[in-house]
């Protein structure tokens, strides 16, 4: 999809001014974190499982070439096909070629972030093939012609009223007077319309949560069952996925699955965990006639061994965004590309460049909540700092903040001068701000005070306060 990440500030402002989005975000803030805590409370081994899950992925990344080759050999032995794709363009063309060969007119899709990353839908449409999203959230945003705003809850930015309006606008073949004010009426309408699409579709596309080297299987996790109908009722099952998804064994996948749903939705386990291996067997009564895996790199292999290596452990649970104060304030669309929230702030610059997405790693309060809830223990704040450093090195940050930092560095290298200036500033600002307790505007810091107030110092700097406390303590002793 076309990125608007460079417009993050404008996007964020629009999000904050959108009352419907703010209502939807309030729902999220109250929902996911509580459910996650309850689920973890039921599993005393949760933290030990996180450590193990992290170690498994670290082991895989160290030996990624081996595990990919081992996995590929098993896919082939089971009668499937692996298509290696360097970038989005290769991946889109590979999917199209399979659809063309099968003379596909419609494809049903289970939720896949990789399909979003390679912008598959517009490409298929431009080539005369109709893609139909079947996850309810993805279906809703497809008929609204919007990108997902969350990696596991794509329509989380919408209220029930928004969805009703979209259904009425899109499903014009149905009675305009039909009742749609209850959530289950919306669901039933989508279910019955999509049911016909499942049956009619020629090709089914899903993502993958895991690829298993031991068996050549792909694993998907859903709650609706749409990904299963997608792959079972069509002539061919195409898995669109990326290379860091491979794990050695079924047991390794199970360990990570134990932390996935609990971190994501707060369920102990998702409703459907489906392990797919090759096409249907000759004796099977149903299932797809062909099985293809479109394996995307798109810059990931180059992240190995860099300061962003750990990001490749991500299992896309969404816990970081569910707990992020910035995400909950601006909404997922503000991030401007496929991956929002803290994981997006780290991954997006890696995939589309820091020139385009440099704002994202800056959109953080560094509260550290994302790292503390990450089931794979990914040091997200540290990696956001790395992006800020790179941005600074490449002179992408604004001139004012560069001069400011330069001035600060000049003073910081001269401790006596630093203390003098710091003490003077604290005293002057403390006096000026005494009346209101803070400043709405500060000269030279308009960007900073534009979104918050600067609290007034209490009349002394850190060094003075430290010296005074020590004096007091000595006196007391």
């Amino acid at each position: 999809m076309e990125s608007t990440s460079h417009r993050f500030k404008e996007n964020a402002r629009e999000g904050m001014a959108n009352p419907s989005l703010q209502r939807a975000m309030e729902n999220m803030r109250r929902g996911f974190p509580d459910k996650r805590l309850a689920a973890i409370g039921r599993l005393p081994e949760f933290d030990a499982l996180r450590d193990r899950a992290r170690d498994i992925k670290n082991h895989v990344l160290e030996h990624l070439d081996f595990y990919l080759e081992a996995w590929e050999a098993k896919v082939t032995a089971a009668g499937g096909h692996v298509h290696w794709c360097r970038d989005a363009e290769e991946a889109r063309r590979t999917v199209l070629a399979i659809c063309r060969r099968l003379e596909a007119r419609t494809v049903t899709k289970g939720k896949s972030m990789i399909a979003e990353e390679i912008a598959l839908n517009p490409f298929l449409e431009a080539n005369g093939i109709e893609p139909i999203e079947t996850d309810l959230g993805e279906y809703i945003i497809q008929i609204r012609n919007e990108p997902p705003s969350h990696i596991i809850a794509p329509a989380i930015h919408l209220t029930q009223d928004d969805i009703e309006k979209s259904f009425r606008a899109s499903h014009r073949q149905l009675d305009p007077g039909r009742p749609l004010s209850e959530p289950h009426q919306l669901l039933d309408e989508a279910r019955s319309l999509l049911r016909d699409k499942f049956i009619a579709a020629d090709v089914g596309i899903t993502g993958a949560n895991f690829l298993i080297a031991e068996t050549g299987s792909s694993v998907i996790v859903t709650n609706e069952g749409n990904g299963d109908l997608t792959q079972t009722l069509t002539k061919a099952h195409i898995v669109v996925t990326s290379l860091e998804k491979v794990v050695p064994t079924l047991e390794d996948a199970q360990t990570i699955l134990r932390v996935l749903a609990r971190s994501a939705t707060g369920q102990d386990y998702s409703v459907y965990t489906t392990v797919s291996t090759g096409p249907r067997r000759p004796e099977d009564l149903d299932g797809p006639g062909e099985y293809h895996v479109v394996l995307l790199d798109n810059g990931r292999s180059r992240m190995l061994g860099t300061e962003f290596h750990d990001m490749l452990r991500c299992i896309r649970c969404g816990a970081c965004m569910n707990h992020c104060p910035v995400y909950a304030t601006v909404g997922g669309h503000a991030y401007g590309w496929v991956y929002p929230g803290p994981m997006g702030a780290v991954l997006t610059p890696s995939l589309i460049g820091v020139d385009e997405a440099g704002h994202l790693p800056n959109a953080s309060t560094f509260c550290g909540k994302c790292e503390s809830v990450c089931p794979m223990r990914i040091p997200l704040p540290r990696m956001m700092r790395h992006w800020r450093e790179r941005e600074f090195e490449r002179h992408l940050s604004p001139a004012a903040s560069r001069y400011g930092l330069g001035l600060w560095a000049f003073l910081a290298k001269r401790p006596r001068l630093y203390r003098l200036v710091n003490g003077l500033m604290a005293r002057v600002l403390g006096l000026l701000g005494r009346e209101h307790g803070g400043f709405r505007h500060l000269p030279l810091a308009g960007g900073w005070t534009g979104g918050r107030d600067m609290p007034a110092p209490e009349g002394e700097g850190f060094h003075q306060a430290w010296a005074r406390k020590r004096r007091e303590r000595t006196r007391a002793a």
């Binding site: 996911f32 290696w84 279910r191 709650n223 067997r281 394996l295 292999s301």
Partner: protein
Amino acid sequence: MSARDDILGSVRRSLRRDRLSDEAQAALQRRIRAHERNIVPQRGSGSGAEIAARFIDEAKSVAVTVQPVASDAEVPDAIVRYLAQHNLPARVAMAPSAALEQIPWASRPTLEVRRGAARPDDQVSVTPAFAGIAETGTLMLTSGAETPTTLNLLPYDHVVVMRTSQIVGSYEDAWDLLRQSRSRADGLIDMPRTVNFITGPSRTGDIEQKILMGAHGPRRLHIVLIEDA
């Protein structure tokens, strides 16, 4: 250069090494073949009676209904009662499985049983399960000539007929069972095309995070549990 070579080359360049030595690869192959368990939580273990009770509790907590029966002979009655209770027609699509053929369906001649894969208009399916997993009240179902996957997904009501002796503690226990029953000459597992782990009926939270049942898969999931252990 092929995309495959390019990508593998890029992986190795980033890891600052060549292709792994034969010994290193053999060691990793051994890790795969050993498929050792990692951490199995306490809730996935216990005596037979404990894990059976936990399986039932966990399944109920995700909106599964469970009907224990004492023998095969009671199964047709239990299913007819379930259908009547939900105002469903006395007609089911059933997996053509040996485990289900043992059941004396003829004892309830009013129950119409069609054997085969699911059709779009089927309202109720009856299938066996490969195993039940106590840890999270999860069913494990495998595809095959006797067990089409569509029966697990298309109908509104999915009725599973299984035995308490099929209940295991953890996912790893369930995989071990499958490895034993489908082990190939080379010692590796002969995977079915599809293994479904199903934990409750289909649901969605995509409308304001409100949980609604029956998103695409079954709206209700009912287990008739034959007590044989």
